[in-house]
Symmetry: C2
Subunit: 431 residues, 2 copies
């Protein structure tokens, strides 16, 4: 290209940062975009929530109340604070404390330790930026929540993993891993341990009460040069269909400085609000707030005022109770369809909550995006998440290729059952 002056005006190529290059594209979002371009596909892949149960009436009622009075409406339309609306933080802290059987003020259940974020994902990203330098080590389940892995890839850290069993993260294996890291001189690089403690995404498994105690005890005595921060992602806590709630890992941390508790409005209320919250140790709360000041100096104030009304007017509790009934029926229908449609040799976790069923196929049946099973399923009009996207890249552990994550969050029960039926046909064709 040239211009009338005759000088060269060609554009030089973009020079992205080291972080941008290592972030790259999210492998699963590329796969999803491609697959979702197929018409008439039944997707049991995305972790969306059910359209029919979205809280339209509740949001309308809360928004009407908020906007009816000029004073409260203006407060919601003005700038807020970086840390988040104080009245909302008070309510959220009281909510968590109550679930855990404590009063606000006990054990660091305090609004000044809470930071509100644009979804709990933003708080995960901020935690990574506050705690991690490239080359640091993060410990997580094998498998784990895959969007968090995008933040870890961006941070340039090494993932080390611990397997799960019926009681969740195997703390005995974690102890072995700690020993190995310490004896190889890597102990001081271990900065963060991540766990989805209730109905984990993708497995649906929860950390048992005794494992929670063992985890907190181990981390504070593991003999590491310094203790990693435990991040407890409680996104699915209130979507429980069987049994009673279990106190959080956070509730076992007497100081409140060892365990971060993350919650969200996305799963139990409405993803479109994009509101998450974190209860941090005192120093960590300050550092997360500082960095959030540079990120955006506060999430949407309007959404925070809405969330406050939703809690204050009792609409949140009412909606969660309805959601539990609705999702329980969906979970039951999904599991019943699996029992009916899946051939011998396919196993799955019966989830007591959350939005996912985790399937184990015979090791000989690969499920990845270029596998025969995946192609067959898509050609039959059914989409699942290949399990391999859920395994962090641990340099010491091979990624298995015979798992599947199904979500029963979206679509009618009839569609879900039809999706499972099509998957059953595809699996039988590949055995």
């Amino acid at each position: 290209m040239s211009d009338p002056s005759g000088e060269k005006t060609g554009h030089s190529p973009l020079r992205p940062s080291v972080r941008s290059v290592r972030t790259g594209a999210s492998p699963i979002s590329e796969m999803m975009t491609r697959a979702l371009s197929e018409p008439d596909l039944i997707s049991l892949a995305a972790g969306f929530v059910d359209y029919e149960t979205l809280p339209v009436a509740e949001v309308r009622e809360a928004m009407d109340a908020l906007l009816a009075e000029a004073g409260s409406a203006r407060a919601a339309l003005q700038y807020g604070t970086t840390r988040g609306l104080p009245a909302l933080r008070e309510r959220l802290v009281a909510h968590i404390a109550k679930l855990d059987g404590f009063d606000p003020g006990e054990r660091g259940y305090a609004a000044d330790r809470m930071v509100v974020g644009t979804g709990s994902q933003q708080l995960l990203y901020l935690l990574c930026e506050v705690l991690l330098d490239p080359g640091d080590i993060v410990i997580l389940g094998h498998p784990s929540y895959f969007v968090f892995m995008d933040a870890l890839r961006s941070a340039g850290v090494t993932c080390r993993t611990v397997p799960l069993d019926d009681e969740g993260l195997r703390v005995d294996a974690l102890a072995t891993l700690f020993d190995e890291l310490c004896s190889s001189g890597q102990g001081e690089r271990v900065k963060l341990l991540y766990t989805v403690s209730y109905f984990q995404n993708p497995t649906g498994l929860s950390l048992s009460a005794s494992r929670r105690r063992a985890l907190v005890n181990l981390v504070q005595r593991a003999g590491l040069p310094a203790q990693p921060v435990i991040v407890e992602d409680a996104a699915y806590r209130e979507l429980r269909y069987d049994g009673d709630d279990v106190p959080s890992v956070r509730s076992l941390d007497t100081t409140g400085d060892r365990v971060v508790y993350l919650g969200t409005f996305s799963k139990p209320f409405a993803p479109g609000m994009k509101l998450g919250y974190g209860l941090f140790g005192r120093e960590l709360a300050g550092r997360v707030e500082q960095l959030k000041g540079a990120h955006d100096f506060g999430s949407s104030n309007l959404v925070q005022h809405l969330a406050h009304r939703v809690l204050e007017m009792g609409l949140y509790g009412k909606h969660v109770a309805q959601l539990r009934e609705s999702y329980r029926r969906r979970r039951d229908a999904t599991v019943a369809a699996l029992e009916r449609e899946m051939p011998d040799g396919v196993r799955w976790v019966h989830p007591a909550g959350g939005l996912y069923v985790w399937l184990t196929l015979p090791e000989s049946v690969e499920t990845g995006p270029t596998s025969t099973l995946f192609e067959t399923s898509v050609s039959k009009g059914m989409l699942y998440v290949p399990g391999e996207f859920c395994f962090p890249e641990d340099p010491a552990v091979a990624t298995p290729h015979h798992y599947i994550r199904l979500s029963f969050g979206v679509g009618s029960i009839d569609r879900i059952v039809e999706g499972v039926t099509r998957l059953g046909e595809a699996v039988r064709a590949c055995l």
Copy 2:
């Protein structure tokens, strides 16, 4: 601390990342927190917008329309996409293109180059993360918008600055700086050039039409080893009180790959929505989206659907027209009060738009947070932003200490005039 087992369970100190340590606290937010704890203070400091003119009726009307129908309400309460609501991006691109005298599709005014963010600040932060490695060089005005400096401190870059005159950023000084950086071998570290092209925060100065052309021409021919990305922050563009709009710097970039255009709903509509948008070069849009996927995989979908309605129903245009009238009166009252109350030797920019008046005091009168003038003003019940917070730390340029930023965005005209009167008394006491 010990537990019954007798083992040590003391908590080890937090180990923050290099980024967290260099981010630190925002100096101005600490100052503001301290000062605002004084009762009965008239603040002409914060860049908030006027409470009285916040678009309560408009938001109510748009929200009613959005939530009245279950289909549109559910779409707004479900997850959105990382890049942002397509229909909103289409409208925003058409809006910018129209202001610039082009049709959508021309010169890269295209929705697939737009990313929606949690305020334009988030897009600035993402740009920093995508483009900058520690030690890189960013060029900005002397003075500049101070919240962007928080993002730059977090990125660990070196700021180099260019003075402003009546026509905005001095492109001749920029040319000299480019030469200096190239001859000292630092040319390839220059990655980004930031300009608030309309009614700059803090000076109120705009980049003239001829300077816009000179800037684009210089950057594409400056002889740098590679061209820096120009970031044009147009936050105040639509708050113009005198004269006609000037096409953006972006409009002069025939490829659309050299200049990023950032806009916001915060200044022309409602800060509480926390909605910003960026028009990027093609590759840059993709990289910003990738990183935003790890940050939060999309800003509030509810707020984006609301913004779309606000534009579609003509409420945005109507409100901006009202705002211009209201702020023009406030600007006029502020300038008239300055003319009446300020002693000889104090000068200021008469702003043709935006929210700020920039005062130059005699060099002997320091204005910083520990200065006699600042203390005197606060004791008289008046708060301003010390100009020194608006000067980036340029290793080659000294920070002056005799400037003041006043904001006329918040409070009644009577309060603003009273604030200026108190400041006049304080200045006279310090001469």
